[in-house]
């Protein structure tokens, strides 16, 4: 089995980014290399000046979900970008921005948080993914 995991991050809300960060950190802890490809609204949330902002929740969260997420934050749950930082420290985690989404959102590499390692196209992404599993969030 190819141990590589590739996560395509599409959604930019805090709940989905947190789910992706948790999956990444768990994989890093057991030594699986993880490649994150940031597209669309997920990429927007990785802007250096917005990464710590409130990015809201997915519509299915509903009002109860909003309350639950607020309670977790108040209890000191680490934000998703902090979990990703730890995952990078722990294992082989690479974060790449989708070049098409960079154009779409008018973002340059200098606008992105240092968590992002670089910019790549979809061909490079698929080649890096190899025979490993790909998850779309």
């Amino acid at each position: 089995m190819d141990p590589r995991l590739s996560l395509v991050l599409f959604s930019g809300t805090d709940d989905k980014l947190n789910a992706a960060a948790v999956l990444t950190a768990g994989a890093a802890a057991i030594g699986r290399p993880v490649h994150l490809f940031l597209q669309y609204w997920a990429l927007d949330s990785f802007r250096a000046d917005r990464i710590a902002d409130d990015h809201g929740l997915a519509p299915e969260a509903g009002s109860e979900g909003v309350r639950a997420a607020a309670a977790l934050r108040a209890a000191g749950q680490a934000p998703w970008h902090e979990t990703l930082r730890q995952a990078k420290e722990l294992g082989e985690v690479e974060i790449q921005a989708c070049s098409l989404s960079m154009d779409l959102l008018n973002i340059t590499e200098a606008d992105l948080d240092p968590l992002v390692d670089g910019v790549e196209g979809v061909t490079s992404f698929w080649l890096a993914a190899g025979d490993g599993q790909v998850v779309f969030i």
């Binding site: 768990g26 890093a28 030594g31 977790l72 730890q86 995952a87």
Partner: protein, 79 residues
């Protein structure tokens, strides 16, 4: 005769949610040498299965897994 190895370090992961107890432990265990014991305190209820699975995969030995009230305690020996 009781054989006791002193705990080399304690990871206080109480209040941290999944998977941070594992992440913190994996980072801490790097700094140790083979045979050293790490004590982990956690409140994440998923951590019991996570520590069992993680130690199996990584080869570190889960010496103890217990719970006292809401606090889970794990002792891991570095491989």
């Amino acid at each position: 005769m009781t054989v006791t190895t002193p705990v080399a370090t304690t990871v206080d992961a109480r209040g941290l949610s999944c998977p941070l107890p594992i992440v913190k432990t994996a980072l801490a265990i790097r700094e140790l040498t083979s045979g050293d014991l790490v004590e982990v305190l956690a409140t994440d209820p998923g951590s019991t299965k996570d520590f069992a699975a993680w130690s199996k995969t990584t080869g570190h030995q889960l010496v103890e897994s217990s719970v006292d009230g809401k606090v889970f305690r794990y002792l891991v020996r570095k491989k």
